[in-house]
């Protein structure tokens, strides 16, 4: 089945926020932001900006009638900062003009005087100065301290993990239309319509029902519009509310890069102990998360780091420490994987270090310690599937790992300046929002008298294929053709109190709610059908292929007839239902509980070729066995696996999100922030889906697919590292990501560089 909106996309008709026809007298808002990473605002002069012809207004913190503070977890972030700026790109004022160009011009006429204050960009430094957000968390399993004695080998090390820009191709944007009674309709590219609604209401002192948020689709989100879309929607709303005119705010690419938060950089220490047989007995890790200037979702991201710190392995004694550190960077935020990838990178690094010390292959250790059915995580939950081992074994056999390894060894023995490497990357990812209360969703389903169906859920379509999957689920549940089903925009007047579309669970939650709604309508229609057929046993009535089936036989009653007759018989043809994932709980005092509905597992083998003279590499192949449960739409799922993988590969290799010591983003356009292009993609991506209905509470036994494949990308780091080792076996390489070609060269030729340096050349290791 094709994507439900495919035809609109290929015709260029698909509507995004600013594609809707222009309302009359629309105004354009532009953001004036802080040029320094930390400082006290001494004065702000907006006179010249305001005097520019075509400028309608300039709004600052003083113009916010009620709450200037916002944030889902901790409301610590000002919408417009008044006293002390905390990062470069922090909004201070918005300029509203009759055209975008005029508004842009006027932002340059605002004069700001700031007294600069000391800045922190490094999380460890922040921690040492007590600059933390929330409290440090510690997860414990077994007894690490006494386990060290039983280990035959203990190694320690540290990881420096880079951030990542979402680079959704559609930048942040919102258009706000004033309505009667000072109400607002907000078109926003947000993954979290309810947060946007609430924040605007609180900012303006309105009731939630006065603010309608409508989302048709996003041009990519990847987590970057989960929390942070709300900021821009709120600023547009502020302008629309004051001026009484429609206002549009679209961030330019450079503003978006500068002003919005990214994936969290981490700095982590690990200590790992193994037996001579390669069994991991103890693992201790400390994660210092670079949270940026405000809380945003950092503590939740941190929690997912804690949950995933042992990835796909059972380690009987673990102690995991993690802390969110406040720095003067834009607030780091959600991004695909949500703290899981950083955690997994560290344990994989620890395993690599053990393997390199023992001079054995990484996968020997990985294999020995894989999770088995019933094994416990540090947070107390036991894994209810054996697919971790199943996907590993299947990958090993289907793709013939021994042959790959031999082929690569052979290649390396006969090649000098190019080397190959491979790595196996198992993943085990917990599915559910870790804040249990978020695991709820609603659906609103209408059947019209002509038999057509309208469905609204609390999920947002952002390319993950939600609408397509909901339509497929509905078509199956109703027993009718897809052409009868329309998926509506996500709208706070039709669905209230939504959770964000995030954590890979949007289809699980909203799909389940849809199934419940359809069941209600079907029950009523089946009773009607029974009456018309003159039978009593409604349990023997079904609908398939738009026909009523009784006791396995097709009858003359059609779906269309039922819809019409239902209305005449005064039967409710609509349903609004609610779903909450059962059985989830987590006790933060004990740090134990059952936070996940289930786990998604999979194994990837990544192969690369490295040019050791130039530092450049080619990803030859990524071969994956992924546990997908029963796919609702394999086309969409394959896209999610490939897309997630590509972003993971990019994060580990070419996406170099550098800030300088002034807290200034150096990667400030697409020329110096490189994301995977079509040429970067692996020559071969082989994906095998492990079909499996062992433990998924998702619709029709499907499983979440948005985030887990991202983490296969981590394998590429270790594959390149293997190739580097083959070229320079004596060097101990760092566990620093991303492993850009530049970094590869710097590490391969560290000695030479140091010598050149001592001769006064100005080449430095980053």
């Amino acid at each position: 089945m094709k994507r439900i909106d495919a035809i609109y996309h290929v015709r260029g008709e698909a509507e995004y926020v600013d594609d809707l026809p222009l309302p009359a007298e629309m105004l354009y808002a532009e953001v004036f932001a802080s040029p320094v990473a930390h400082g006290k605002i001494l004065s702000l002069e907006i006179k010249d900006a305001l005097a520019l012809e075509g400028i309608v207004a300039v709004f600052t913190a003083d113009d916010i009638p009620e709450s200037n503070q916002w944030g889902t977890i901790i409301a610590d972030c000002p919408l417009l900062v008044k006293d002390e700026v905390q990062y470069i790109g922090q909004p201070i004022a918005i300029v509203v003009g009759q055209t975008r160009a005029i508004a842009q011009k006027a932002t340059k006429l605002i004069r700001l005087e700031v007294e600069e204050l000391p800045i922190i960009v490094n999380p460890r430094k922040a921690f040492s100065q007590g600059q933390i957000i929330g409290t440090p968390r510690i997860f414990v399993l077994g007894d690490v301290d006494s386990a060290w004695e039983e280990c035959d080998l203990i190694v320690e090390g540290n990881c420096e993990i880079g951030g990542q820009e979402h680079l959704y191709l559609e930048t942040q944007r919102s258009r706000v239309i004033p309505l009667e009674g000072n109400n607002l309709r907000v078109y926003s590219a947000t993954q979290n319509p309810t947060l946007t609604q609430k924040t605007i209401a609180q900012m303006l002192g309105l009731s939630c029902h006065a603010v309608e948020v409508d989302v048709k689709r996003l041009g990519g989100g990847f987590g970057g519009k989960e929390e942070q879309a709300t900021h821009w929607a709120s600023l547009a709303a502020l302008a629309a509310w004051h001026t009484g005119k429609p206002v549009e705010l679209v961030l330019s690419r450079s503003d978006d890069l500068k002003m919005t938060g990214k994936r969290h950089p981490y700095s982590s220490d690990f200590k790992i102990g193994v037996t001579n047989e390669g069994k991991i007995l103890a693992y201790e890790v400390k994660h210092y998360q670079n949270a940026g200037a405000y809380a945003d979702l950092s503590t939740a991201v941190l929690e997912r780091t804690l949950f995933h710190s042992t990835n796909a392995y059972f380690i009987p004694n673990t102690r995991i420490f993690a802390v969110s550190c406040r720095t003067n960077l834009p607030p780091s935020t959600a991004m695909r994987g949500f703290g899981g990838p950083q955690a997994m990178f560290v344990i994989e690094s620890a395993i690599a270090k053990v393997a390199e010390t023992l001079d054995i292959s990484r996968e020997e250790i990985q294999r020995k310690n894989l999770l088995r059915l019933g094994d416990s995580f540090s947070y107390g939950q036991k894994i209810k599937t054996n697919s971790m081992r199943r996907t590993w074994l299947e990958a090993e056999q289907t793709y013939n790992l021994t042959a790959i390894s031999e082929r690569i060894n052979h290649y390396n023995a006969s090649h000098f300046e190019t080397k190959k490497g491979y790595a196996v990357m198992p993943i085990c990812f917990g599915i559910s929002f870790t804040a249990s209360f978020l695991n709820q969703a609603s659906a609103l389903v209408h059947v019209y008298t002509d038999g057509s169906v309208s469905i609204t859920t609390g999920g947002v379509e952002m390319g993950q294929g939600l609408s397509t999957k909901i339509a497929a689920i509905a078509s199956k549940a109703f027993g009718i053709g897809l052409q009868r089903i329309k998926i509506e925009s996500t709208n706070t007047t039709r669905i209230a109190n939504m959770s964000a579309s995030a954590a890979s669970v949007t289809t699980d939650l909203n799909g389940n709610a849809t199934v419940l709604a359809i069941a209600q309508i079907l029950d009523r229609l089946k009773a009607l059908a029974a009456k018309e057929l003159g039978v009593k046993d409604t349990e023997n009535i079904a609908i398939a292929k738009e026909k009523v089936i009784y006791a396995g036989k097709e009858t003359d009653l059609t779906w269309e007839h039922l819809a019409k007759a239902g209305n005449l018989a005064r039967i409710n043809l609509s349903a609004h239902t609610f779903y909450a994932t059962p059985g989830l709980e987590f006790d933060r005092d004990r740090e134990k509980g059952h936070p996940f509905a289930y786990h998604v597992c999979g194994t990837a083998i990544v192969e690369v070729t490295l040019d050791c003279l130039r530092g450049i590499y080619q990803i030859d192949a990524v071969k994956i066995v992924h546990d997908l449960g029963r796919s609702v739409n394999e086309l969409v799922d394959r896209g999610q696996v490939e897309g997630g993988l590509a972003q993971g590969l990019g994060w580990m290799t070419i996406e170099d999100l550098q800030f300088n010591e002034k807290g200034e983003l150096l990667a400030n356009n697409l020329a110096n922030y490189k994301v995977p292009d079509i040429y970067f993609m692996p020559d071969l991506i082989d994906i095998k889906f492990l079909e499996n209905d062992d433990n998924s509470p998702a619709p029709y036994g499907s499983k979440a697919v948005g985030e887990p494949p991202f983490m296969y990308g981590i394998g590429v780091f270790f594959a390149i590292r293997e190739a580097m080792k083959a070229f320079q076996p004596q060097i101990e390489f760092a566990f620093t990501s991303p492993l850009t070609p530049e970094r590869v060269l710097c590490e391969l030729y560290a000695d030479q560089l140091r010598q050149m340096n001592s001769h006064g050349d100005r080449i430095r290791l980053k």
């Binding site: 089945m1 994507r3 495919a6 996309h9 290929v10 015709r11 260029g12 008709e13 698909a14 600013d18 594609d19 006179k47 305001l50 005097a51 075509g54 309608v56 207004a57 709004f59 600052t60 003083d62 009638p65 009759q98 055209t99 979402h166 680079l167 191709l169 559609e170 000072n182 002192g205 041009g219 990519g220 509310w241 690419r253 390319g463 294929g465 497929a472 689920i473 199956k476 897809l482 796919s631 609702v632 739409n633 394999e634 086309l635 394959r638 896209g639 490939e642 897309g643 993988l645 590509a646 356009n669 697409l670 020329a671 994301v675 995977p676 292009d677 079509i678 040429y679 993609m681 029709y700």
Partner: protein, 238 residues
């Protein structure tokens, strides 16, 4: 207070007052931190009259001649999206770095954010909206549809326009960076995957629907797409 104002909440009233006062004091921007100017200045594109700084130009777009008044510095992309309501072309960067704004100018692909509208007078411009007829998709559109050449769809209009031009370029015997034998340019039927990737590398897709995109170009080139995307069509539920 009028009767209508009494129906409003205090907050709403204060907003009214604020607006009233601000409009009153428009221009005197010294005392208050922020103010509203009068909205009576020029209204954007509301009339056909030329505003100072604007020029009238004629553009041939999707077979139709359109006249518009714009400032000479307006890019083709902004003219399409904002003056002509052709919002199929997308702005991903406005700097010629993503390809989302790709259109065809006299059959050749161009980043519409990198060219001024005024420079394109007299040229044939084709946008995503002009590729299909009422009932029939362009073969490249069909190929993207059938090979799942997108996820969020934001890059898609640009990808499709680029692919249309690519086919034409190959037909005209153009070579690329990866063409081995420059005297023997590739043909559509045998256009390799790496040729396709090289020739599509000016269009980013952050969703990374790249496999589908390659498959779509292969299909449009008359090849059988080996991409799995094409072959798993009926394995979904229902």
């Amino acid at each position: 207070m009028t009767e209508e104002e009494q129906k409003l909440s205090p907050k709403q009233r204060s907003r009214r007052n604020f607006l009233g006062q601000s409009l009153f004091t428009a221009g005197a921007a010294i005392a208050a931190p922020s103010l509203l100017n009068s909205c009576q200045n020029k209204t954007v594109s509301a009339s056909n009259a030329l505003v100072e700084g604007e020029t009238m130009i004629g553009l041939k777009i999707n077979g139709q001649l359109k006249t518009l008044n714009i400032e000479p510095r307006v890019t083709l992309l902004d003219a399409l999206r904002e003056n002509l309501g052709l919002t199929g072309s997308k702005k991903g960067c406005d700097h010629g770095q993503c390809g989302a704004c790709t259109v065809l100018i006299d059959g050749q692909r161009a980043y519409s954010c990198l060219t001024l509208a005024i420079m394109q007078e007299g040229n044939e411009i084709t946008t995503i909206e002009g590729l299909a007829t009422e009932d029939n998709l362009h073969p490249v559109q069909t190929a993207f549809l059938e090979n799942d050449g997108f996820q969020c769809g934001y890059c898609t209009p640009g990808q499709i326009c680029a692919s249309v031009a690519l086919l034409e370029e190959v037909n005209n015997g153009s070579v690329s960076y990866v063409t081995r034998d420059l005297t023997n340019p590739p043909e559509l039927a045998s256009l390799s995957e790496s040729e396709i990737k090289e020739r599509m590398s000016g269009n980013l897709c952050r969703c990374s629907a790249y496999n589908g995109i390659v498959a779509a170009v292969q299909q449009a080139a008359g090849q059988t797409p080996p991409s799995p995307a094409a072959s798993i069509e009926h394995s979904q539920v229902g």
